[in-house]
């Protein structure tokens, strides 16, 4: 068995443990670093699929967790509510407004300390004023309050420095109003991280999975090959010239249907150091930037602890 491969059998996963420390195999740090590979598989405006080969699971997991909860974004935090005659209670409305993703680069702003004032350095201000009316002819206008109704109120010289801010999407319904109902509020965005509250998380989700490694244990031909092809719901196998071949191993969901009745044909496995990351952004940062910021954050953390260790080493033991 290959130490770098975990196998899926009919009953249980096998060879899943990573016993050795990466450095115990006689590899130097330089060797490990030069073996790390990064490939972008798919990049869209809203999501990124990236292959990271040659790293250990704790590092991959650290990256994932940093992306979820430690890459900062801007989100609405304080709300001055002047009028709310809608059916939605104030607190619920405030919560809904807080979750609206704001299209603003958080790297342009500073964190606001609790006793600091809102300023052009640490805050984006929006105004929301929505009134619903029944017109003379009986028709109703303004019954939906959308995220597009937020009006940016720039602080002095914010406009010159940053251009324009708005919510990422204009079509999120915040509340519905009946005739005569009104919502008037002033909203203040602050910079924050997902660990404080999910509204600051830059990702819808960031996850990874291990790359599937699917091999045929023997040559499968004729009817067996067609059966195998039909068995897999994800279209992993194909038949070429009467023989079964593995066509799309990445599609495998590890459902184990292909080994349920007979495990003599297919070997299902995972490559232990090949991580397929999927990063989906809420829209404030591009997924590529989120990944980059996460790596920076991880590096800062490592530097912080390295510093601590060095201080500890230098202090004389008593």
């Amino acid at each position: 068995m290959d130490a770098n491969t975990a196998y899926l059998t009919q009953n249980t996963p096998e060879n899943v443990h990573t016993v050795e420390h990466p450095l115990s195999g006689g590899k130097t740090l330089e060797e490990i670093l030069s073996n790390i590979e990064m490939t972008i598989i798919e990049e869209k405006e809203e999501h990124l699929i990236i292959d990271l080969v040659g790293i250990e699971a704790p590092i991959a997991n650290a990256l994932r967790r940093i992306m979820l909860s430690e890459v900062p974004t801007m989100a609405i935090e304080d709300i001055n509510l002047w009028q709310n005659t809608s059916v939605i209670p104030d607190e619920v409305l405030a919560h809904r407004i807080g979750l609206i993703p704001i299209d603003a680069d958080p790297r342009l702003f500073k964190f606001k300390h609790p006793n600091e004032e809102h300023s052009s350095e640490n805050c984006i201000c929006f105004k929301l004023h929505a009134v619903c009316r029944r017109l003379e002819d009986g028709s109703i206008v303004g019954d939906k309050v959308m995220s597009g109704d937020l009006q940016w109120q720039p602080f002095p010289n914010q406009q010159e420095r940053f251009g324009h801010f708005k919510p990422v999407h204009d079509d999120i319904i915040i509340a519905k109003l009946g005739p005569g109902q009104e919502i008037e509020a002033e909203l203040f965005c602050e910079k924050g991280i997902g660990a404080t509250h999910t509204k600051w998380s830059p990702v819808c989700t960031a996850s990874y999975r291990l790359a599937p490694k699917i091999t045929l244990k023997k040559e499968i031909a004729g009817e067996n090959a067609i059966n195998l092809k039909n068995k897999c719901p994800m279209g992993v196998f194909d038949v070429k010239k009467g023989k079964a071949v593995v066509k799309n191993p990445r599609n495998c969901t590890s459902c184990r249907e292909c080994i349920r009745e007979d495990d003599s044909m297919v070997s299902l496995a995972k490559v232990k150091d090949h991580f397929i990351f999927t990063i989906e952004t809420t829209g404030a940062l591009s997924p590529r930037d989120i990944f980059r910021e996460a790596i920076k954050e991880l590096r800062d953390k490592a530097a912080f602890w390295l510093d601590k260790i060095n201080i500890y080493k230098r202090t004389p033991k008593s």
């Binding site: 989100a75 609405i76 935090e77 304080d78 709300i79 001055n80 509510l81 002047w82 009028q83 709310n84 005659t85 104030d90 607190e91 405030a94 919560h95 407004i97 807080g98 979750l99 619903c132 009316r133 029944r134 009946g178 005739p179 005569g180 109902q181 002033e186 909203l187 509250h197 509204k199």
Partner: protein
């Protein structure tokens, strides 16, 4: 009986009339703002509907969006 209630009863009946600043209410049907004095009939000037909602105080409230 409570002292304060007694004194309230002894007040002239014009007590409410003196408080002339009209309060505005929202019509439940058309949404028009209506202002009533104490003796007015409760009917919307716009549509005649009889159910009204009181407006909330104009004072702001501060919330954390969490």
């Amino acid at each position: 009986m409570d002292e304060s209630l007694l004194s309230r009863q002894n007040e002239p009946s014009s007590y409410t009339v003196m408080n002339v600043k009209p309060v505005s209410y929202i019509c439940g049907w058309c949404g028009k703002e209506n202002e009533f004095k104490s003796k007015d009939e409760l009917r919307c000037i716009g549509c005649g509907y009889r159910i009204f909602y009181k407006k909330r105080l104009a004072e702001g409230m501060q919330y954390e969006a969490r």
